[in-house]
């Protein structure tokens, strides 16, 4: 059974790139969310094994979303995606419960490693 992944990013382009890499490496993308609120709703609905979470998003940012999801499911496996220079936010996300982090621009191998290590 391939692991189910929920992709969260406010740009369709990034979601597409991620989906492409993830599906080529034996994961199943079960849903996509464009902001934090949507991510929470989809998490409840789809119960994915893994979530990728962008930090800067409209409506609700990634860090708040991570905190909310961790409340719903303390065992949630979230990988936070950040741009360069967002070090404090990444640390905050890790403290909120994210398992690993990815730095844009994404390197396919890193994405796969992060997902594999977050949900072995």
């Amino acid at each position: 059974m391939p692991k189910k992944v929920l992709i969260t990013d406010d740009t369709a382009f990034m979601r597409m790139t991620l989906k492409n890499v993830i599906e080529k490496n034996g994961f199943e993308v079960v849903g996509e969310a464009g902001d934090g609120e949507e991510a929470i709703a989809k998490y409840k609905e789809l119960q994915p094994d893994l979530v990728t979470m962008d930090i800067t998003m409209p409506k609700m940012d990634g860090i708040t979303a991570i905190k909310e999801i961790m409340k719903i499911d303390p065992n949630a496996k979230i990988v936070v995606c950040s741009a360069m220079g967002q070090k404090p936010m990444v640390i905050e996300a890790l403290n909120a419960g994210a398992k690993d982090f990815l730095v844009k621009p994404f390197d396919a191998e890193r994405v796969v490693e992060a997902l594999r290590k977050a949900a072995p």
Binding site: M84, K87, L94, D100, F101, R110, A114
Partner: protein, 648 residues
């Protein structure tokens, strides 16, 4: 593990240790075999080393380590505390002071190779100089400091495992510091990280290649630690091993009593005191000052009330505010010990330099006074003590010839007297040389050639600007700054200086200072329609005179008061205001500064009041004649007059 917020605490505590090392060295000089002193010094150096290591201040830790090695040899009796050794230790403490300040202020660290070599030669006479570890070394294995070694030892006793974990990140890792953070986060879940190399701060600021090492105390096995780290992304390689340092040092028995003593010291240091930034204290004190002023405003409104319940509430507010005010003012008080502490060392050095034997006696060092005064009284005292050593205490042979004790004595002390503090510096030297002072005064044209002067008059002449009797400028004092500078400094603190002397017996300088600078009693007067405050200690009296009593001498207004002719000025004019003309009697304030009395005509007297001094901001800078400002009960600002500059 961000240590930057501990910097201030570290600095303050480190300075304490340096002071205690200095004090101990002075004691050691007289009692070179005291194991108590040596133990104390060893502990101080050791604690300092541990603290510096924790902060990642490598140079400081390294230097203290060298010093500690020498102290250890002294302690075990392998090295004799000879003059040479003690001098090297004195220089080491001086070096440490410089090193500490450079480190704290992020200044470039000087090289102290000479003194480091001197220490190394003492601790290992055979060793040819130095294999000092260069900075930025490639060797990343953790070198444990002794404090952590102890922690590990205790951990092992309690059934923990200690591992050194050597981690290599992938070469292209982004946000390395965050990666390190995830590793620390994962490992802290199963154990305690004791130490890392490079330091936590360097890791956080990404000042490392791709490799770092850490020591962890944990209940997990080496295999599990390995698996945990490998479960994290971007790890190239992990090596988990036993830190050989620990096992190697386990037999060192000298360390066994250490942790207990250290923890005892720690509790004693932290229990009763909290270190607070002075800025924060000042903020609090200023706010209390504001509150006191609001209180006055509220009380004025309350006076008009009839309701007794409201009146009681107001009275309660009044009382609590007053107490709060005193409590806050107390926060400004510090023991004068802070200033006195540096003198034993200074006297020792100066006495040696001038080949005199001098004993310094200190009393009343716990006497408290305003922090603002403490910070400024140091230099005048240094000057006075230098004077005593240089001009006061005679050379040994001369003392013997005079039948005095061979060893000279300087007594330095402080005590309270009413709302003042008295600081006395007394030496049993040659006292004032009245004839020499007289001659000097004659050449300076201060007294006529055949005039006789008393010893008190001689003392007063000393305060005359530019007056110095030193035949030659020595390294110790002279240099053109004389007693007049001391007097000026003390007067700027609203204090007075008094000199008493007996030829060939003693010279005593008494400095009288107010307890606090923050609140003063002042006389409020009106000039040019504005309210001004005059510090009460400068006001001799206030009188009412008829216009007819104003006389003119050489085109200056004067008044005659009890057979004394005093110059008379209009305060408003002095301050550049248009004086408001009135008829009828004149209100005159007699103000005295530096023995000179002057009368000022004012428009009205408001009365005496305690005022909180606020300094004028940097924007306004120093304004001649104005010492500061205060906010009155009515909310209006009144300027505080600086009587000494005003008279000039």
């Amino acid at each position: 593990m961000d240590t930057s917020e501990f910097r201030e605490v570290f600095a303050a505590e480190a300075r304490d240790y340096l002071q205690s090392l200095n004090d101990d060295l002075l004691l050691l000089e007289n009692d070179p075999h005291s194991s108590e002193i040596l133990d104390d010094m060893f502990r101080a150096a050791h604690s300092l080393k541990g603290m510096a290591g924790t902060m990642g201040f490598e140079e400081l830790a390294h230097f203290t380590h060298q010093m500690e090695s020498v102290l250890d040899l002294l302690r075990t009796g392998e090295l004799e505390a000879s003059d040479r050794v003690i001098n090297v230790l004195f220089s080491s403490v001086d070096t440490l002071e410089i090193l500490l300040e450079q480190t704290i202020n992020d200044e470039p660290i000087s090289s102290f190779q000479d003194i480091v070599s001197a220490l190394q030669r003492l601790s290992d006479p055979q060793a040819e100089t130095t294999e000092t570890k260069p900075l930025g070394t490639k060797d990343v294995s953790v070198v444990l400091d002794e404090f952590n070694r102890e922690t590990i030892k205790q951990g092992l006793e309690q059934g923990y495992n200690a591992y050194q974990v050597l981690i290599t990140l992938r070469p292209n890792t982004l946000l390395k510091s965050v990666r390190v953070y995830t590793i620390f986060q994962a490992l802290e879940e199963v154990g305690t990280i004791i130490q890392c190399n490079p330091s936590a701060q360097d890791l956080e600021e990404e000042r490392f290649d791709n490799q770092f090492a850490l020591i962890i105390l944990t209940h997990e096995s080496a295999k599990e630690i390995q698996a945990i780290v490998e479960g994290i992304s971007e790890i190239e390689q992990v090596q988990v091993s036993k830190p050989d340092d620990v096992t190697r040092q386990e037999s060192a028995s000298a360390l066994e009593v250490e942790p207990r003593i250290q923890s005892r010291l720690r509790t004693r240091r932290t229990d009763k005191f909290v270190r607070v930034e002075t800025d924060r204290l000042d903020k609090l004190i200023n706010l209390v000052g504001e509150l006191v002023i609001s209180r006055t405003q509220v009380m004025e409104i309350m006076k008009q009330l009839e309701d007794s319940e409201q009146k009681n509430a107001a009275a309660q507010l009044d009382r609590v505010t007053t107490e709060l005010q005193y409590a806050a003012m107390n926060l400004r008080m510090v023991p004068i010990k802070q200033v006195f502490d540096r003198f034993p060392r200074m006297v020792r050095d100066l006495a040696k330099a001038s080949q005199k034997e001098i004993n310094l006696e200190i009393y009343g060092e716990e006497t408290e006074l305003d922090r603002g005064i403490v910070n400024q009284i140091g230099d005048p005292l240094v000057h006075l003590i230098r004077n005593s050593i240089d001009h006061g205490i005679e050379p040994r042979a001369e003392r013997i010839a005079k039948g005095k004790p061979e060893v000279g004595t300087i007594r330095l002390g402080a005590r309270h007297e009413g709302s003042h503090i008295l600081i006395e510096i007394e030496d049993d030297g040659q006292g004032l040389d009245v004839e020499k002072i007289r001659q000097k005064a004659v050449t300076q044209g201060l007294v006529s050639g055949d005039a006789k002067i008393t010893i008190d008059e001689a003392a007063n002449l000393l305060f005359h600007p530019g007056f110095s009797t030193a035949d030659a400028v020595t390294d110790l004092s002279g240099r053109g700054v004389g007693m007049d500078a001391v007097k000026a400094a003390v007067e700027s603190l609203s204090g007075t200086v008094d000199v008493q002397s007996q030829t060939d017996q003693y010279m005593r300088v008494t400095i009288k200072l107010p307890l606090t600078l923050a609140i003063i009693k002042a006389l409020l007067v009106v000039a040019g329609g504005e309210t001004f405050a005059i510090p009460i200690q400068a006001v001799r009296e206030n009188i009412q005179i008829e216009r007819s009593q104003v006389k003119t001498v050489q085109q200056h207004d004067v008044i005659v008061l009890r057979n004394e002719v005093l110059p008379l000025y209009n305060l408003a004019e002095c301050l550049g205001f248009e004086p408001i003309q009135s008829t009828g009697p004149l209100a005159v304030i007699i103000v005295e500064s530096r023995g000179q009395k002057v009368g000022f005509i004012v428009e009205d007297l408001i009365g005496q009041q305690e005022i909180v001094i606020e300094s004028l901001s940097d924007i306004l800078g120093d304004i001649r004649g104005i010492a500061g400002a205060t906010i009155l009960g009515s909310g209006r600002v009144a300027l505080i007059l600086d009587n000494s500059t005003l008279i000039q």
